[in-house]
């Protein structure tokens, strides 16, 4: 199981999903209408490190974070 967390304005509780790559996470989230609209503009971190590699392998206990568009200051 990996934990998926939704940062900032996405406003969803953490999800716990079976996934061996980020690609698996993508397929799950694309089919969830509460979050699918955020995917095109959100960045992804695995264990707090930003990544753009969809084939990145995931292991049990990993944390995947979705970061929607930012605006500090």
């Amino acid at each position: 199981m990996v934990t998926v967390e939704f940062l900032g304005p996405i406003g969803l509780e953490d999800m716990h999903v079976e996934a061996s790559t980020l690609g698996d996470v993508a397929r799950i989230l694309q089919n969830d209408e509460r979050v699918s609209a955020w995917l095109a503009t959100s960045a992804v971190a695995v264990n707090d490190e930003l990544t753009s590699n969809l084939s990145k392998p995931l292991k049990n206990g990993d944390k995947v974070s979705l970061l929607p568009p930012v605006c500090g200051g």
Binding site: L7, G8, L39, A43, V44, L67, P69, G72, G73
Partner: protein, 148 residues
């Protein structure tokens, strides 16, 4: 590390503390950038979410970049509500060299606006509304939605 405050920043105290701590370091130039919430669009306040673990990595990368130039950075940011005419962030550069300091504060503030994991909301009539149209997608965004 970035100093995070609940609500508006105590700007005078932060500037005095950072300035005082720099005096013995022979740094020569100190440039803070202070950002204050403007009254516009009928807002009562801005409000901020911060994701600290990734903010810390972003900030450490900038400290490393600054150190390579002989410079040093400091940063403070608010979490939660910040009423109009009070301040939500300070980014600062310390450097022995004027040119380094002026170029670094520009690059640091611009990258902060584009890349720091902080989300902004308008507070209007007590409601907290995501400032979507003023927000910027992080580099590498969209990989999870690639097939749609």
């Amino acid at each position: 590390m970035v100093e995070i405050f609940e609500g508006s920043l105590p700007v005078e105290a932060i500037l005095a503390r950072w300035y005082g701590a720099s005096l013995g370091r022979n740094e020569g130039a100190f440039i803070p950038f202070v950002g204050t919430v403007r009254a516009e669009g009928g807002i009562e306040a801005l409000s901020f979410d911060i994701y600290e673990p990734i903010l810390a990595r972003w900030y450490e990368a900038w400290q490393t970049k600054a150190a390579a130039l002989g410079a040093r950075l400091a940063m403070a940011h608010s979490r939660g509500d910040v009423p109009v005419h009070t301040s939500s962030y300070i980014a600062a550069v310390f450097s022995p060299k004027r040119r380094v300091a002026l170029e670094l504060i520009d690059a640091f503030v611009e990258d902060f606006k584009a890349q720091a994991p902080i989300w902004k909301y308008d507070i209007i009539d007590g409601k907290r509304i995501y400032a979507r149209e003023r927000s910027t997608a992080l580099v590498g965004s969209g990989i999870l939605g690639g097939t749609q």
